[in-house]
């Protein structure tokens, strides 16, 4: 079965530290890849997406992610985190060749940024 794995469940960083959250998926076909963020008390928001083209994608608030097809990975990065980045981050995947409507989510990573 297709699955998405986020390696870190809980990450604690100090402000200005660099961030990398891992995401791996198991599906051999074409995929669309997403990172969503859920800030405390808010709903899920789309942070960035990859459909095709340049494997390095930039999203909102200084986040970027790199799609490495050979590693089935889509890691999220930010060079310098802020306290306001404290949130839960979800990686998600769906089929790229045909829209099944189904997003498969990872378990989520809770990021806590200490001021």
């Amino acid at each position: 079965a297709q699955s998405v794995s986020q390696h870190n469940h809980h990450v604690i960083l100090s402000e200005a530290a660099s961030l990398e959250l891992g995401c791996n998926y198991s599906y051999g076909g074409t995929v669309n890849l997403f990172w969503y963020v859920q800030y405390p008390g808010q709903h899920l928001q789309l942070l960035l997406k990859y459909f095709s083209g340049d494997p390095l994608v930039k999203g909102i608030k200084g986040f970027e992610a790199e799609f490495i097809k050979s590693k089935f990975s889509f890691n999220l990065r930010k060079p310098s985190v802020q306290w306001s980045d404290t949130a839960e981050y979800f990686c998600a995947v769906n089929h790229g060749s045909s829209n099944t409507g189904k997003l498969i989510f990872g378990q989520g990573t809770t990021l806590q940024v200490k001021p």
Binding site: H43, K102, F105
Partner: protein
Amino acid sequence: EAGVTQSPTHLIKTRGQQATLRCSPISGHTSVYWYQQALGLGLQFLLWYDEGEERNRGNFPPRFSGRQFPNYSSELNVNALELEDSALYLCASSLTIAGSYEQYFGPGTRLTVT
């Protein structure tokens, strides 16, 4: 532009009852998706509706059902509620254009079954 809206915010039911959850998509979006976010189980796909029809279904029993109305709003019904149905139910919407697959989520309905 208004986002996806869901009602009610919270819903408390007893085991065996039925629950009805509602969702209004972003204006112009024709697809509506339902997900369940249960403690310890993460976000799981429930249903996809587009143009009034059920297009795909996740691995949930038939007592989870729904419909989409002509204005593209949607209803999720859960019959014969069980304690393990307690969860946050999220609705998302999207355009239905080839290549445009990002889903935008609402705030959710917190269903508690006692």
